[in-house]
């Protein structure tokens, strides 16, 4: 069980096959819970690997990878934000190194990290601030359920289940 995140309100906790996904745990969170979750993981001696966003039909899925040196338990925290208002609280108060990852994500997808002390372009030139180069075209954009697998669910809210629901229904009809 995922002890480290006890007390954090998760939307979905699922165990995944590391050989397939590279994660042991996949956790969906509401944007408001990410700082608390990061602090819990920091206290449990997890280190932050990276932060990035993925452009889906449902919105931007911001992903945080955490890992530990002593045991192989790679965790991905997933925060889904809408395209209209892609705002996530910054975790720089917990991991200072997150600042650059958040700036990179801001450069590439336009996801704003509230509370980041220096949210200026990291990789893009300053006049390309709103270029959003990794945002997909409508044609290339996919749905979350076509790209990600939910895995072995431990607990799951109705919202996250709904994200993956249709795919399961289709599979059932195929069978």
């Amino acid at each position: 069980m995922l002890q480290a995140l006890e007390g954090v309100a998760t939307q979905c906790v699922a165990k995944q096959d590391p050989a397939v996904t590279g994660h042991v745990w996949s956790v969906f969170l509401a944007p408001g819970q990410i700082v608390k979750a990061a602090r819990k993981l920091c206290e449990a001696e997890y280190s932050l690997e990276d932060i990035f966003a993925m452009d889906f039909e449902e919105g931007f899925l911001v992903q945080y990878h955490f890992n530990r040196w002593t045991i192989n338990e790679r965790i991905v925290l997933r925060v889904l934000v809408s395209k209209d208002n892609p705002v996530v609280p910054s975790i720089t108060s917990v991991f200072d190194g997150a600042e650059w990852h958040e700036r990179e994500t801001r450069d590439f997808h336009g996801v704003v990290f509230e509370g980041n002390p220096n949210l200026v372009p990291l990789l893009l030139a300053v006049e390309d601030k709103d270029l959003c180069p990794l945002c997909k075209t409508d044609k290339a954009r996919k749905s979350i359920k076509d790209v990600l697998a939910l895995g072995e669910v431990v607990s799951c809210s109705a919202e996250v289940e709904a994200l993956f629901a249709e795919a399961e229904a289709e599979e059932a009809s195929d069978a």
Binding site: P121, L123, L124, A125, V126, E127, P133
Partner: protein, 181 residues
Amino acid sequence: MAAQDSVVQQDMLTTGGHHMDPPIVNMKLAQDIFDVCRSMSLWPMTFGLACCAIEMMATGMARFDMARFGAEVFRPSPRQSDVMIVAGTVTKKMAPSVVRLYEQMPGPKWVIAMGNCAISGGPFKIKDNYNVIQGVDTLIPVDVYVPGCPPRPEGLLEGFFELQRLITGKRWWPVAAKVEG
């Protein structure tokens, strides 16, 4: 961010571009002697932008040893350099710095565009490119182009020979024999 750090302006070079005034007293023989001296003591800038810089370093080290041809002193400051080897991909964010370094070099100065990225954008010359300058010659005047991805050290040496030919009007080194087969 200061105004000069932005690449919105099309022409980033100072007034007159790369134009340099002719010498006040111009004696042909003296100039020719100076030109030979300059071409045989080219001081490149220690300045690598991407993987081509690895080949540039190899060119400077013992195996290829560009010191044999008079270009051994890589200078850490543009104020002391004659040649800028643009070794690698020039991104839009890097462009103002490249231009500033070029402007800081005292004349006479030369530029070698090393590798396909610096020449034309190379593999980054695609429709979806948003961040790579399509050829460093859109920013600063280039004297010698050394194609390759990356070019071999021999290629860069050949670029230096060409630069020496440009400066003095003569090729100073033997041409490599063609390998049979």
